[in-house]
Symmetry: C2
Subunit: 231 residues, 2 copies
Amino acid sequence: MAGLFKVAAEAEDDGGLLSDRIRNALTDEIASGSLVAGSALEEQQLADRFGASRTPVREALRQLVVSGLVEVRGRRGLVVARMTPERIMDMFETSAEVEAMCVRLATYRMTPLERSDLIELHDSSLAMVDANDVDAYDAFNRLFHEGIYSATHNAFMAEQAQEVRARLSAFRRTQLRQGDRIRKSRDEHDSIMQAIAEGDGDTASRRMRAHMLNAAAALRRYIDDRAGGQG
Amino acid sequence: MAGLFKVAAEAEDDGGLLSDRIRNALTDEIASGSLVAGSALEEQQLADRFGASRTPVREALRQLVVSGLVEVRGRRGLVVARMTPERIMDMFETSAEVEAMCVRLATYRMTPLERSDLIELHDSSLAMVDANDVDAYDAFNRLFHEGIYSATHNAFMAEQAQEVRARLSAFRRTQLRQGDRIRKSRDEHDSIMQAIAEGDGDTASRRMRAHMLNAAAALRRYIDDRAGGQG
DNA sequence: CGACGGATATTCGCATACACAGGATGGAAT
DNA sequence: ATTCCATCCTGTGTATGCGAATATCCGTCG
């Protein structure tokens, strides 16, 4: 999953391994929702689409299975991981705890430069909220949280947090479109930033946890609205 | 990595996929230290060893790369992930935070049955300490922590915690052999159990973090003793 | 004697080919 | 008409072959 962290690696798409290229492409499509959960993933079909043979496609798929984005169904092929609402909630809760853990460490360890960068980044999000630009805010949100991961000064923890976050990215955008969630999200960021500025890691941690759980609650409302349960 | 959690799957070793069998075997060998960090992993050689062709070996290796146990070295083949002391410490710290996070939730959520099972398990470890049986204690330790993961009643979090833990298993045994670390470990478990019994999740969490960091410190002393740095 | 360059050999990355399993489909029997 | 069975067919799992890239080794030159 170290690869996910260096998304700058997309630049070397042509130079890298074919299987990696396919893996990254599929990761993006699953995370963005282009490939909906439960879709069958046929090797030959994907091979044709990417202009490759089945071998690199297979390797990409097996890697996605390990990272949890794809699941095997016996010998009947692979499907995009279909997650139950319960599992999604579990993942959000885990993400909340992980983020809380990261922001606590980050508060204690970030350098003045990192702190000022994060403040500047946070300030920039106000315009996106006013414009109600969900895509821009989603992109900002990612940078904000990645900035916190990085400020933990623990590369492994940052990777783990990033991995969990990546697995939820498909749902995060959905959740942001709920009502005025985007503005509330920004407000919550603001209160987290205050705690960080005061060097109060425990408070920042609690607020981050609440922030993430609010996002999860918003998603749950959305899921409950859409369907009683399509497990 | 869900596969790691159901280690009962070892029973279906013969029935399962060849690439899975190879992956599990290599995982065990890396975790146990049979394959030392930095060793080259040649596809043909492994294929011969497992009586298979290169294809399933390749798939197994690529999966191990994703899970972080193996790393790629350009086109010059793969090696068992060589971890720097810094990275190992990062992993231990992450593990400490993750365990702290789990025990906090577990304290609030475990059922009376889970609590009594955990107490019983903990009590059983005293004999192993008295006998200074590191292997037995190591096995108990695993059950103890897995019991806590399970008591979070969050399957995803349990899997994540398990995955982090698995990646450190190679070092954990080493650390337990340091001085009277095993007895101290047991004492720390005891204080954690007290907090759990009192339903004080925050205290349990702090004590768990300290417990894990103590283990990391013991390992660091060991590393520092052995070599100034063999990165 | 050391360094540099080319040839060889090893090993990876991908493609293709073959084997096998499970499901779908069609027909026949009840 | 429905159900059961046989056959085919689709798709996965594995093996092998070929091309490319790189390390190694040896010879030659400085």
